[in-house]
Symmetry: C2
Subunit: 350 residues, 2 copies
């Protein structure tokens, strides 16, 4: 973003986004859930998962890939686990349903574990573990797509750079939220380098022929972080999601099935209730003090500060909640196009 980028208050941006998705065919409830996730990402500075996605999502609706009237349902259930069949519903609608259900289960027996089949993009999965952490629980989320990353030792895509999110509640401290891709750099960072016209570091991505590249336009195959470690995590995440609901996302690509690379996600959402195990108030104080202890350590050469997971994003959120969300020119242009199409007024100032 640039210093002169116009800013819009989060609530205004959310109302605009909701209105767009209602016009695109979602129910007001689903549209609001979808909008809340996008604006949550912008608030935390994760703009790659924010409102810049609106045109892509609307495009999915146009093509029938995202179903506005999806038959979203709980398919199987025990006191501890469930399967959510999303039927290509907007990701956040499926994600929030699964999150609510695992919280209910965890409240009763200490744990809830859900696997979601065939949702569209869940977005920044820190969203779901934050919901869980706010209920006094530890949250866990993993999501998998068709492949975009080379396994360690390979030079062709065979894994998705599936993210992992873990969140726990603090006392005075906001929930501590880890939300990380299993690639060296998230895909959004490569796109950003394209937009900025700058090279990417060697080791981030391979070109279509599988050669290392510093050209972000050529770098279409991501590389796993930590070599076999990130690679192994991504592979096991597929085994914990798609294979658990009979809906593999890697195999159809290996088998060359038509449509195998089309976007869709299988995900895992789990909640573990802290009060079932120990004193919740003490737990939260321990999180605060662990954060404080880590932050008080002597800084490494060149480090301005020791950050705990989610802390940089929390700082952006504080600032943007007050001053509004800055929107770069490209994003505004895309919003204008979609606003005109659906006759929804752009937020004032854009």
């Amino acid at each position: 973003m640039a210093a002169q980028d116009p800013r819009v208050q989060a609530e205004v941006l959310k109302q605009f986004t909701t209105a767009i998705f209602v016009k695109a065919g979602l129910s007001p409830e689903w549209a609001e859930t979808q909008a809340d996730m996008l604006v949550w990402s912008n608030l935390r500075g994760v703009d790659s998962h924010g409102v810049l996605r609106i045109p892509a999502y609307v495009g999915w609706i146009d093509k029938g890939l995202m179903k506005t009237k999806a038959n979203l349902r709980v398919e199987k259930e025990t006191p501890g686990v469930l399967i959510v069949d999303a039927d290509f519903a907007p990701g956040p609608v499926a994600g929030v349903l699964a999150t609510q259900r695992v919280i209910e289960k965890a409240r009763k027996i200490g744990i809830g574990w859900a696997v979601i089949r065939n949702a569209m993009h869940l977005g920044a999965i820190g969203y779901y573990v934050e919901m869980i952490a706010k209920q006094g629980m530890a949250g866990l989320c993993v999501t998998c797509n068709p492949p975009n990353m080379a396994p360690a030792g390979a030079k062709a895509p065979g894994l998705h750079n599936s993210p992992l999110a873990i969140g726990v509640p603090g006392n005075h401290h906001r929930p501590v939220i880890l939300d990380m891709a299993t690639s060296v750099a998230a895909g959004g960072k490569v796109s950003l380098a394209v937009d900025k016209g700058v090279p990417i570091p060697l080791g981030w991505a391979l070109d279509k022929q599988g050669n290392p590249t510093t050209d972000p336009k050529q770098g279409t195959i991501l590389m796993p972080f930590g070599g076999y470690k990130g690679s192994g995590m991504a592979m096991l995440f597929e085994c914990l999601t798609g294979l658990f609901v009979g809906n593999p996302l890697l195999l159809p690509v290996f088998q060359g099935k038509p449509g195998a690379t089309e976007h869709r996600q299988n995900s895992l959402v789990a909640a573990v209730d802290i009060a079932t195990f120990t004193d919740l108030a003490q737990y939260k104080r321990n999180v605060d003090e662990t954060v404080a202890g880590i932050k008080a350590l002597p800084k490494a050469e060149g480090a301005s500060e020791v950050f705990v997971p989610g802390e940089p994003e929390d700082r952006v959120r504080e600032e943007r909640a007050k001053d509004g969300i800055p929107l770069p020119v490209g994003t505004v242009q895309n919003m204008r196009t979609v606003a005109q199409r659906f006759s929804v007024p752009l937020p004032a100032g854009l």
Copy 2:
């Protein structure tokens, strides 16, 4: 190991190790469980977690740190979760108890989730997830110790390089087992460099003053893999283990409490039953085919083969199960010392 290292069959090594721990005060059952874990590690080539640990464990018993008559018990339980208080029992005894219990729970409601407080060294945690995978379930294990790793941005220890293990069953393929530390290199690799008198790569470890070093003798502070990612995982793992059972392992070190750096572990073991979600036979075939698809990808420059998690270790296991476990001279010398002390005959050939 060297080509001329003597080899001992796994079963013989296990009998020897069991006999030592019985003489050291463990019950025959506990001694056998402890021995089985150590020899399992040697079989898979993870010698850093094998019988070379015998003298250290016996030393813990001598000092009363590992309790031979620990009051190991299930402290709390719901249909989905439990706490195991290990009371400083040998790690594998606590780990196996927790593993058996989470398997039973998962058989009934699809999931079991255990947190273990104050066990001694669980060893290579792939052991527990393999046990779970053999029951047709996905296994998850995490374990945390007092700090030995610098958080990203810091130059002093504030986290443990807590490992993560995930395992799932294959059909013809052995269970796929990911077992990885959250440091760039496991502590055992630094020790190995000391033994071999070779330098370590920059980025593996810091010296006591927090400076990067290539001298393995000086490199006492490990560094997280993937920077803030490995660091974040390790921090959240403490939140999922020690804080869940009111037994933090990082905080007491920050607070300078006496004994805070003494070895002990809090761990998490979980099992998720595949048949509760989907067809188990199909799941296992999908794992086999996913493995095959990944292995068939074009190889990266310089890679001899695309490996899936646990595959290199499985190859060593096949070879060692047949030809015996090679024991380096230092390990044999340590075994001889402890054998003499307890009047247990060394395996033939040593």
